[in-house]
Subunit: 194 residues, 2 copies
């Protein structure tokens, strides 16, 4: 229970409906506020493991007017999918989505979410990593998924909570909800001592 934060406004700075759903199910009271035009660029030499947290920190800069208010906490997050050292972004079209899922099929990849919790007085940031193993997927499975679920808003071209996650993800190591975009248990723990 996060009773010590009950006088605070908790702002989730995200457009992701999966993140709203997870915070709601975790019973953490929050409002959504999205400042448009935040840069998603990062230095090309940056280590893949640092990118998600860097982008979440970048987002906080755009929210200075919000977290400068008393009794206000802003949560930013960024999720990155990494395969063989390369980052998979959101697929731009059907072909890119099919190609990404073909790359993930039968392989292990990693999902990294960087989270920053910020108020006028404090800042706490962390990255949570989950490893994911996909079964070998057939072409018809991949095409069925892309055509019916249109995963164009999802890094790596899949949602683990959707059909492809149920039938295709054999094993994970780490937080499941982190794959959906928010490592809720770690966030709850960090809010507990914020």
């Amino acid at each position: 229970m996060l009773d010590h934060l009950k006088d605070y406004n908790i702002i989730l700075a995200s457009q992701s409906p999966r993140r709203y759903e997870l915070l709601e199910k975790a019973n953490i009271p929050f409002k959504v506020l999205v400042v448009p035009g935040v840069s998603e660029d990062f230095p090309p030499s940056m280590a893949v493991d640092d990118v998600a947290e860097f982008l979440a920190l970048q987002k906080q800069n755009a929210y200075k007017q919000i977290w400068s208010n008393p009794l206000t906490i802003v949560i930013t997050a960024d999720t990155v999918v990494e395969l063989n050292g390369k980052i998979l972004n959101k697929p731009l079209n059907r072909l890119e989505a099919l190609n990404m899922l073909n790359l993930l099929s039968g392989n292990r990849h990693r999902v990294l979410t960087g989270v920053v919790i910020k108020s006028a007085e404090k800042e706490q940031s962390f990255t949570v990593v989950t490893e994911v193993w996909f079964n070998q997927l057939s072409n018809s499975d991949i095409e069925y998924y892309v055509d019916n679920f249109e995963p164009y808003d999802k890094a790596g071209a899949y949602g683990v909570q959707e059909w492809i996650g149920l039938i295709g993800v054999r094993e994970i190591k780490g937080s499941f909800y982190n794959i959906m975009g928010l490592p809720v248990a770690k966030l709850y723990e960090e809010l507990g001592r914020f």
Copy 2:
């Protein structure tokens, strides 16, 4: 896609609404049929790792009249929660639920689901194991969960898809949906070659 089974009746022999939900999301067509009075006993000397599959096999005996029909497949499953070599059953009352969650708090446990797929001609059985690590839970978290979610129909006294799973499960190793009671990806794979 399970096109080679499209002329079959797939029967799920389970009362668990979580299992229905998972098979539905996996897009596997099925009907539910529950034969009452199936024994849940197992030999006391049996190794914990063998119990779930043994119980799933036992259930198939009660469904002989069903799977003896042509073009019929019966799926049975049993899920067992193991902590330090001992099986945690469904909690009988509030105190038992609180005690179980206190045992799981801050510890690693295992969830084992045994599954048997059976027709008149074939039988395939397997067990899927997932390791689960809970954060240290506060007494108020545990009481809040038990009083609001009443986990009396759940082995180990928790649902990983409910509030306590979101805020409390730090990490897993294995299949997430197995913790909910059905290792869907493995089942899909096995049905694919059944």
